[in-house]
Amino acid sequence: MTSKQPHWKLSRRGFLIGTGVAGAGLAIGYVFGLPRLRLGIADAFENASQPSRVSTKDPSLWFVISPANEILFYSPKVEMGQGIHTALAQIAAEELEVDWAQIKVQNATSRVGPYDGSGTTGSTSVSSLYTPLRTVAATMREMLRAEAARKLGVAASDIRMAHGVAALASNPSRSLTYGQVVQGVTKWEVPKDTPPLKSPTEFHTIGKTFPRVDFADKLQGKAIYGYDMRLPNMLFGAVARPPTIGSTLRRAAPGEAAQQPGVITIVAENGFAGVAATTRLEAWAAVQTMQLEWDQPPPFQQADIDARITVGQGSGIDIQQAGDARTQLQGSSVIQAEYRTPMAAHAHLEAQAALAVVGADSAQIWASTQFPDLVRSEVAKVTGLKNEQIEVIPTYLGGGFGRKSGVEPAVEAARLAKASGRPVHVGWSRTEDFRHGYLRPPTHHILRGRVEAGRILAIEHQQASGHVAFDFLPAAMMQIMGSDFGAWRGARISYAIPNIQVTAWRNTLPVRTGWWRGLGLLANTFAIESFLDELANAAKIDPIQLRLTHLPAGEAGERLRAALTKVADMSAWGSAAPTGRARGVACCIDHGTIAAHVAEVSIEGNQIRVQRFWSVVDAGLAINPDGIIAQTQGSIVMGLSSTLIEELTVRDGQFSASNFDGYPLITIADIPDIEVTVLSTGDIPYGVGEPPLGPVAAAVANAVAALMGKRLRKLPLQMG
C-alpha cells in the first residue's frame, strides 16, 4: 500500500483541494472536561463517545482528485481486516457524489492526510467519523460546485453534482468531471457555512454492500503489510528477550555476536540488547550469542495469578448502583454462581513488525500498528527526535485485535536503525509474539440474584480482572479513575432490574495484560448472560422471555426486543431442537450496538460441538451490510475459539505456549453453519468490530446447560 503508488504520481499543486477543508469542515474538536466524578471519566471512555481525535489545528489533506477523475481518500483509520477503508470510502463517496469505482483509499500518515491521535480501536471508527467525514466531503463537493459554476459561467445553484461530474442541470451536456474542475486551481475558498448533509432517504452508497477496496491487491499477494516492508540497503533486527516473565536486563555485552555471520550492528545498552544483520535468520541466531545477565523475579505459577484475580482481592470500586441490591439479596431464595475466564492471546497471524529509517533530524517508520500516534511519541523518546520530525506510515495490518496498539517493534527497529545508520526491519517471531506482549486478562465473577413472580428483583455482579487500560495510562489517570474501564466493559447490567449492584475489583499481576478485542466484553457478557439463564432456569421461565420482560427502557430496549424476537424466529426457538442437540441464547448492548445470538450444540464423547449459530446484529444505521455480516461471522468464530479452546497459562514464570502447538486456534472443521441478520435502524451508525463477540460464549454455555443439565462456568468450556 505505502510502498507503491502507481496511480498517484501527482504534482500536489493544483490538486491539493483538501488543504484548508479540514479546518472548516471539522469544527468537532473534543476535549475531555475536568473530571467531577471518577466514574464520569470512565464513562466517557467506556461509552460510545470515544471521539476520533482528528486534528482541527492543522488543515490536512483528506482527498486528492486526479485529472483522470480518480478520488484518492486518505483514511485516518488503519485497515486491519475490519473493512474500515471500505466503509469510510462509502461515507465519503455519498456526500462527494462520486461513483464507487472512482474512489481509491490510502492510509493517512502522520504527515499526509487527516491526522488521528486516537488510534484505530474500540469499534469507534465509523461512529466517530461518520459526521466529520460527511461534513468534509460535503464541503469539498460545494467547493467543486462553486468552481465548476465559475468555469462554466453559470450560477452554482444551476449545477448538479452526480457521479463525479458537475453538470448544468438544464443542459447536462455542459459538464466537467471533478478532475477537470480542479485543473488550474491553486487557491480554494472554503465556504463559511457547513453545507447541509444529505438525508438518509437520498443515500445511494451508504447502506448498500460494496466490495472491499483492498481485496484486489490482497488476493494477488501485492498488498504491503508491516512484515513485508522492504527498502534498499536494509537490515533485519533481533532483540534479546527475557528468559522469564518480568526479568530485566542487568548487564549486556556483545559476547560472540560480532563474530556471527551477517552481523552489522550490535546494541548493548540500558535494558536493551539487539543486533542488526543482513538476514533475519542471522539476526535471530546472533542475538542468542550476546552475553546477557538478567535479574529474574521469583518464579510464579498460574495458581498465583488465579489467587490475585479473585473477587475481594485487590481494590474494589462500585461502578453501578440502583436501589439496594445488597439488602435484597439475602435469604434462601438468592441464587449465586461463580465464573472464570482465562488469559488469552491475540494470535494475529501477522506477528508485529515495523521498518525504521532514522536520520540525524528525521525518521520514517512503517508499522503494522493500530496506534501511529503512540508509535511516533515512543520513537521520539528513543531517538531524541521531536514528534514532528517523525513520519509514521501505517501499513496494512495482518490482524490487530488490540495487540497492535503496542509499539514495541517500531521502537526496537528505531533503536537499531539509529545505531546502524541503515533501515532496520524488526519482525517478531511467533514465540516473541506469544511470550513478550500483553494478554487478555483473566477474570473472576460472582453473581447473585433473586427472582420473584417472574421478575428479577435484584442482581449483583462482582467482577475481578487484571488490567486492561491501566497499564497504558499515566499513573495520575489511574488515581482519578480508580477502576479500569476496559476491564469492566460489559460488566454493568443493562436490564431493567430495580436493585443492581456492580463492583469491579482490580489487582496487579506479574504478567502484562491489556487491550484484547472487546476488552472485558466477552468475559463479562459470558458471566452475566450465563447467570441470566441460571435465573431463568430456577424460575422456570423461558430464557428469551426472561430477557424480554427486563428490557431496558427506551430505544435500546426496543432494538433489543426486535433483535431477540428476530433471532428467536431464525432459530425456531420455540420448537424442539433435533435429537441430541439443544439451543442457548445470549445478547448484549455494547457501544450502541445490539447483538443477539442463538447457538445449537451437541456433545460428541467429551467434545462440545457447536452445530448451528444464528445471530442478529443491529449496529444502528448499516453502512455496508455485508461488512457487518463479515465482522459478525469473524466475531463468532473468534468467540467460539475462546469458548471452546483458548487458554494461556503460566508455569514457572513463563508462558506455557511458545507457538500454536501450545495454543491452538479453532479451524474450519469446528465452525458451525452461521446465519447472520443485520438490522439497520436509526440514522447513526455504531461500531461492529467487537460487540458481536460479547454473547458468543454465553450462548454456547447456555445451550450446553440446556442439553446436559450441567452448567459450565469456566472458559474454555470443557465437559467432565
Binding site: P211, R212, F215, Q220, G221, A630, F660, P664, I671
Partner: protein, 163 residues
Amino acid sequence: MQLAINGTLFEVADTPARPLLWVLRDELGLTGTKVGCAAGFCGACTIHVDGVASRACQTPLAAVAGKQVRTIEGMAEVRADGSVTLHPVQQAFLDAQVPQCSWCMSGQMMTAAAFLANTPAPSDEQIIAAMNKNYCRCGCYARIKVAVREAATLLANEQEQPV
C-alpha cells in the same frame, strides 16, 4: 544455486538447509507468501512445489532444487498490456468477499488450488478436510467454504472451454 519460481530462474546463495520462506520474502522480495508461525502449524506460507501444497517455512532450499515453485504472485495471468486474469481460486475468493485482514489468504488459496487440481468435484467434507490445517484468525472460514466450492465450479467451466 538456482530456484525456479513462477517460471523465472533466480540465483541464490548455495545454502541448501535454509527454509525457502525467508529466501522468498527477504531476498527475492516475494512477500505475497506470508509468515505466520514459521513452524508448520498455521499454513500462512503455503506454496506449491511441483504442484504439491507445501509449507515454505518447512521447505529447505535443497527440497526445491530442480523443481517448479509457485507462489501467490504466480497465480494470476498478467498480460503484457498489464491486464490481469485472476486464477479461478482468486476469483472465487474475491467474488465471495472472503478475506478480512487477508494475511492467511495466500496460504488458503494455494492450499485450495492444489487440492482442487487433484479433486475437481469435491464434497463439502473433502473441502473441510483439505482446508482444516490453515488458520484464519479473522474467522473467514464460512466464506472460505463457499469460495472453494465456487472455485471448483469455475475450474470445471474452464476445463470445458477449448483453449
